[in-house]
Amino acid sequence: MEKLLEEFSLGLFFWQTLLFVLLLLLLYKYAWKPILNAVNDREEGIKNALDAAEAAKKEMQNVTADSEKLLKEARAERDALLKEAREIKEGIISEAKEQSKIEGDKIIKQAQAAIESEKKAAVADIKAQVANLSLDIAEKVIKEELSDKKKQQKLVEDMLGDIKLN
């Protein structure tokens, strides 16, 4: 301890304190403050850039999600449209089938009615013609048979029997 005290130089202590404090003040003003500020600014800049990148990434994710959602919606809409179209198509087809069936039935009915009426007309015509023919025949028979009374009678009777049979 005594040796240490003897070694202690007040002059050196004085110069050391003075020079060190001076150095501290000078370095504070011209070195440490600008250095630490610059480093801080840089770190802040890096942090901000990272934050911005993160935000951009999130935004991108949002955009992707949005577009995916849109795509999904579009797909669903398309599917709905297609389904609707198919339904419409089926409706049209079945309706057409029904219509055609009704139309066909109608035509068939008309045709049947026409055939019936034709048939009726034809039968009537044939009846008229048969009547005429009968009258003609009857006229001729009458003309021929009037000479013979017996024969006349027989003919009328036969004829009447024939008609009845008819």
Binding site: L12, F13, A38
Partner: protein
């Protein structure tokens, strides 16, 4: 082969030298040389040698001597001729004896007490010594380095150039691994200039001590005392209310006042002593480490001249080289420890008890 023989040859040679008559002379000379190198000097000597005719030749330059002895006395240290002659200024005679200036009579007699200590009057010595010159050079170097680093940020868009690329990570290390964890995120900023300055100052001066110029600034008790006192002053001037409360009332509310009295008779003086012991440990640690390093290297280099053999000298050279490498590490380590512990003390001093504030906040809610 050499390495095998080495350890056995080492003590044998040493013993031989101790018994030898010639070796003793050389040993005292080396011892004096080392102790001279550990001390501050009034001139900046680069090296010295002895001519064949026994004349000592010193290569270097003298430095101004500034004394306060009933008035300011300024003269060049060349007047001492390295302690060989007296300096006469304004009718007063001064003698340089073991790197200290004593006031003597015209013949330069030095009176000793029974312990062989000089009893002559010592004038107040404010000389620009070798250490002061080195402090100045280190200061200039630091100012140049770090102000150019600061300027390079503005020029190069926030990225350092040149040597700043080496120093910037160290600056950041001190900020992120010394100041922030020890002092705390909120308060570390005001201590940064001191921590950075003291770290680089000690490191650079330690490294200068590794050069063959024989500089031993950080191994000087006056220097380490000045540095430790600065830490002490800053610690106590920035001390918060909590810090002082802890000093005078270490137990807080855990005991009633009458229970504290017997404990505090012992506790408070211990806390007070702790205030002084903390910086004292700082100054002794740095001083002793650097001093010891210089003594060990000096001794190992001296051993080479004592051995003068093909086994001992290369071995002590190898040893000196290895210790030198360790010393380079120690130079950094001691700067780191000084800065780290200063930061720790600042941290204690500026600490505010967070839980108290939380409690207050709870009441407010």
């Amino acid at each position: 082969m050499m390495l095998c023989v080495g350890p056995f040859a080492f003590p044998a040679e040493k013993e031989n030298e101790q018994h030898g008559e010639q070796g003793k002379d050389l040993k005292t000379e080396i011892k004096e040389y080392i102790s001279h190198h550990l001390q501050d000097s009034h001139d900046f000597s680069l090296f010295s040698y002895t001519k064949d005719n026994g004349e000592h030749v010193y290569v270097g330059f003298p430095l101004p001597v500034i004394l306060w002895d009933n008035g300011l006395k300024v003269f060049s240290s060349s007047q001492f001729h390295h302690g060989e002659t007296l300096a006469e200024v304004d009718g007063q005679h001064y003698k340089l004896y073991h790197s200290k200036i004593y006031k003597t009579d015209a013949e330069g007699t030095i009176n000793y007490d029974e312990d062989h200590h000089p009893t002559n009057a010592k004038p107040l010595d404010f000389s620009i010594t070798k250490n002061v010159v080195m402090i100045f050079i280190t200061g200039l170097l630091m100012f140049w380095l770090f102000s150019s680093l600061a300027r390079s940020y503005a020029k190069n868009n926030g990225v350092p150039t040149g040597v700043g690329r080496f120093f910037e990570p160290i600056v950041l290390y001190i900020r992120d691994d010394i100041a922030r964890p020890n002092i705390g995120e909120k308060r570390y900023k005001k201590y940064m200039p001191f921590l950075l300055t003291i770290f680089f100052f000690i490191w650079f001066l330690n490294m200068f001590g590794m050069t063959p110029l024989g500089i031993n600034v950080t191994g000087n008790i006056a220097i380490t005392t000045a540095l430790a006192i600065l830490t002490f002053v800053i610690t106590n001037f920035t001390g918060t209310k909590d810090y002082w409360m802890h000093q005078f009332n270490p137990l807080g509310d855990s005991l009633p006042w009458y229970g504290k009295i017997p404990l505090y008779i012992i506790l408070v003086p211990i806390e007070m002593l702790g205030l002084i012991i903390k910086p004292f440990s700082l100054l002794i640690r740095l001083y002793a480490n650097m001093q010891a390093g210089h003594i060990v290297i000096g001794s190992l280099i001296g051993l080479m001249f004592i051995f003068k053999s093909w086994i001992g000298s290369p071995l002590s050279f190898g040893l000196a080289f290895a210790i030198m490498l360790i010393e380079v590490l120690v130079a950094l380590l001691q700067a780191y420890i000084f800065t780290m512990l200063s930061a720790l003390y600042f941290g204690f001093a500026s600490e505010e008890h967070e839980h108290d504030h939380e409690h207050e906040a709870e009441i407010a809610h």
